[in-house]
């Protein structure tokens, strides 16, 4: 100890230790978020199969564990040990990178989501909302280059469709969130939730209903879910951009897709449904609900949104490619633009007290 104090002053050592602790906490947070996040992804697949199974008068997974609870792990082990086939004509390097980009772009977003009032890996990011939009858009690179690198026509068409679709819906999604930004006056996701808690409505879904609807539809399209699952429309393009992928590379796409879905559900929960908070009118009516930790509300909102995804998947047919584009450009973007104008006008009128 003495030798150490000889080298650096005690105050500097204190600062160093402080810094070390901060880094350690961040690493700990990352580990927790990753592990818990991946577990949620695993059980999101189980949840999907169960929900859709029961909607379709069947049981879903039942064999591995009680009511198939261990099925996700069985699937994971199977995918891990399968033979990894790489087409001889494929562009190998790009073929390797594709799924990694897709997965990474989806995973990074987990860092910005505030799961509870004081828990986010990157809490101080003032542009959280923009970062998520940016990284959600990054995922399309993974899709596109893996579609290209597979050197298969189905994969190629899937990649093309996907890039066109994600770019179009990115706009609608970004615009639908502008209303939220105007109302809360911030891009920090934690601040957005706090602003919602303080507002009259409790959650922004009430004043921003149009924005919420646009966001929901755009989120479906952004994560390539039915009825917008163009890139992987199995009846047309076999499996779209990941037709040629097998084994764990396929699993990476699969994981990335479900993480993206959870991210979108979290975004809906944070930006429109009040995140980890409950509206004041509910807590004043039922005060004991305040005792429940915020993460429970957050997860309930996320899973309600995910359930809605599954419900849609079990119900509706698939759109055609041109129809998807038409909805994106001719319906969603005008609606969200109108929403921005109205929100901004109201905000100006309210703040100026006219």
């Amino acid at each position: 100890m003495n030798t150490l104090t000889n080298i650096i002053s005690p105050s500097a050592l204190d600062a160093l230790i402080q810094f070390g602790i901060t880094v350690l906490i961040i690493i700990l947070k990352i580990v927790v978020v990753l592990v818990v996040g991946l577990l949620h992804v695993a059980y999101a697949t189980w949840f999907e199969r169960k929900v859709i199974g029961h909607m379709q008068v069947r049981l879903g997974p039942m064999r591995v564990g009680w009511h198939g609870l261990l099925q996700p792990f069985a699937d994971g082990i199977k995918l891990f040990f399968k033979e990894d086939i790489i087409p001889t004509q494929a562009d190998k390097t790009v073929f390797y990178i594709g799924p990694i980009i897709f997965m990474a772009a989806a995973m990074v977003n987990l860092a910005f989501i505030p799961f509870a009032s004081n828990f986010a890996v990157a809490q101080q990011v003032n542009l959280g909302l923009l970062m998520i939009l940016a990284f959600a858009g990054m995922g399309v690179y993974g899709i596109f280059i893996s579609g290209w690198a597979s050197n298969s026509k189905y994969s190629f068409l899937g990649g093309l469709r996907s890039s066109a679709q994600v770019i179009s819906y990115e706009i609608a999604m970004g615009l639908s969130l502008v209303g939220v930004m105007i109302m809360s006056g911030s891009l920090n996701l934690t601040d957005i939730v706090k602003a919602q808690e303080a507002s009259v409505f409790g959650m922004y879904v009430i004043p921003q209903l149009a924005g919420f609807l646009v966001f929901t539809i755009a989120a479906l399209a952004e994560t390539n879910r039915t009825p917008f699952d163009m890139p992987e429309a199995e009846s047309e393009l076999v499996a779209g951009y990941f037709t040629e992928y097998s084994s764990f590379r396929f699993a990476l796409f699969f994981l990335g897709e479900y993480i993206a879905m959870i991210i979108m559900a979290s975004m809906a929960s944070v930006c429109f449904l009040g995140g980890w908070t409950l509206p004041w009118y509910i807590t004043s009516l039922l005060p004991f609900l305040k005792l429940v930790p915020g993460i429970v509300w957050f997860l309930m909102k996320v899973y309600a949104f995910i359930f809605f995804y599954y419900w849609i998947r079990a119900t509706v047919p698939r759109y055609r490619y041109d129809q998807v584009m038409k909805i994106g450009w001719k319906v969603l973007i005008p609606v969200s633009l109108a929403n921005i104008v109205v929100t901004a006008l109201v905000k100006i009128l309210v703040t100026r007290g006219v």
């Binding site: 039915t226 076999v238 047919p317 698939r318 759109y319 490619y321």
Partner: protein
């Protein structure tokens, strides 16, 4: 501008090979698509990946033996194919089927129509993306397949209708169960329709897709619901009734514009009509025989062939030593290898190995084989004694039947000479059988007119100018099965 770009870069259409392994081509159909972006420029269907030579096989099999081949045509509605074949062969033979058999056949034919349309709806909806309809349809189809299993033991390749009638009579539980089915089925159809009938996406995907006018549809040779969707009222069940269709009251639903949605509506209404037909038939089902009485043309039941009346009811084949020349023909014909003996020495049958198939009996040219009323417990001396003694009359008669039966099975019946085309309405359209008979027991030429083949040919016409996703909708709407298309 675009022309300039095309000139500089020498752009051409993307050539995509859809199939023969593809999740949505309903089997092994191969489509070569030339696409410009997402727009179809040209579709070329390639068929023949499932060719098994059923028509040629039919020429080397007798009229009864070719029946199981027809199961393998359209394996989704095997019952209807069987009926089509039987109706054609009966017309060739000129035999009349008993009323009860006609009714039973019509019942199973309509069940097969419903099950086919259910499978069609399931896959069509799945192709367009509606997953749940798929499972709902299979729930009801399962019921029908279970009923098929109840009457004949098979679920898919049934071979239940036979030339001259049906194989078994239907049990009461079958009729009860199918009655219950007809009670519940209309509400189930409504269940499917709540999911897709007025669904905005379904309408966008089907209305105005694959439009073909009535005139053009007729010119292309389309039949069945695929033609009726264009507004042409052509249904063989109605206009050239066979079996019991003239005794039931039903309508032929037709569409107006001839697009994918109209064809979908047609089939949905047809399922309801089939349900009505089933109810009427079950109510009217008469009693009586289930096989035609035509010993000249049809295989008779075994007990009619062998009227054995002697007390022990046991028979044995023995070889008469004096008559046997030791040629070895029977030795080779015996499937159980129960006959022993050197060449040019009288042969002996080991009774405990004998299966009593009668092969040796019919192969022997010297009439050395004898059918005697003896059993397995007897010694050789006793058997010889019996063989030497006078024969009871029944045994001689049975032996004569035996030879007749054998020849009938091997050579087939004596069929009138001539040519014949008979068409029936299978769920997919008009299934025609064309026979050229040269008077022998086997057809000189058997030819099939299968609706799937004709409809697969219309695909390029239906798909032109549409998008890639519409190709799938169009494959679904013409309802093809490649087993029937490639034969």
């Amino acid at each position: 501008m675009i022309e300039d770009v095309e000139k500089i870069f020498d752009t051409r259409e993307l050539n995509v090979n859809m199939g023969p392994q593809h999740p949505a081509t309903h089997g092994v159909l191969r489509l070569v698509l030339d696409i410009d972006g997402e727009t179809i420029v040209k579709v070329t269907p390639h068929v023949g990946y499932l060719h098994r030579g059923i028509e040629k096989l039919g020429e080397s099999l007798s009229y009864f033996q070719a029946l199981p081949l027809t199961d393998r045509l359209d394996y989704v509605s095997a019952m209807s194919n069987n009926i089509g074949y039987c109706v054609a062969v009966e017309k060739l033979f000129g035999i009349e089927v008993p009323e009860r058999a006609k009714y039973i056949r019509t019942i199973v034919g309509e069940m097969s129509r419903i099950s086919n349309h259910l499978l069609w709806l399931a896959t069509h909806a799945l192709d367009i993306g509606a997953m749940t309809v798929f499972i709902y349809c299979f729930r009801e189809r399962e019921w029908i397949l279970d009923l098929f299993e109840m009457i004949c033991g098979a679920r898919l390749t049934v071979t239940y209708p036979r030339v001259g009638g049906v194989r078994n009579d239907v049990p009461q539980e079958f009729l009860d169960s199918i009655w219950k089915f007809t009670d519940e089925f209309p509400s189930r159809i409504l269940e499917y329709e709540t999911l897709i009938d007025q669904n905005r996406i379904w309408l966008q995907r089907t209305v105005g897709i694959g439009v073909i006018s009535a005139e053009e549809a007729v010119n292309w040779g389309m039949t069945g619901p695929t033609l009726r969707g264009s507004g042409v009222s052509y249904d063989i069940r109605k206009h050239m009734p066979y079996d019991a269709y003239d005794k039931v009251d039903f309508e032929v639903p037709i569409g107006t514009t001839g697009d994918t949605y109209d064809r979908y509506r047609c089939r949905m209404l047809e399922m309801r009509q089939s349900n009505n037909i089933l109810r009427q038939l079950i109510e009217k089902l008469p009693a009586g025989p289930i096989m035609a009485d035509a010993p000249k043309f049809l295989l008779q039941p075994k007990d009619m062939m062998m009227p054995i009346t002697h007390p022990t009811k046991e028979l044995a084949y023995v070889i008469e030593e004096k008559a046997c020349k030791g040629c070895g023909m029977c030795l080779r014909a015996c499937p159980a290898k129960a006959i022993f003996g050197e060449k040019k020495q009288p042969h002996v049958i080991k009774q405990d190995l004998c299966l009593q198939c009668g092969n040796c009996f019919v192969t022997c040219k010297f009439k050395a084989l004898k059918l005697i009323p003896g059993g397995k417990g007897m010694t050789e001396e006793q058997l010889k004694e019996l063989a030497a003694g006078p024969m009871p009359e029944e045994i001689t008669k049975a032996a004569e039947y035996m030879v007749k039966h054998f020849e009938f099975v091997k050579k087939g019946p004596k069929v009138p000479e001539g040519e014949l085309y008979v068409a029936t309405e299978v769920p997919k359209g008009e299934l025609g059988f064309y026979f050229v008979s040269d008077g022998s027991g086997k057809p000189f030429r058997m030819r099939l007119r299968s609706p799937s083949f004709v409809h697969a040919g219309v695909l390029p016409r239906l798909c032109k100018g549409h998008l890639v996703a519409d190709v799938i909708a169009n494959i679904g709407t013409i309802d093809i099965v490649l087993g029937e298309c490639d034969r």
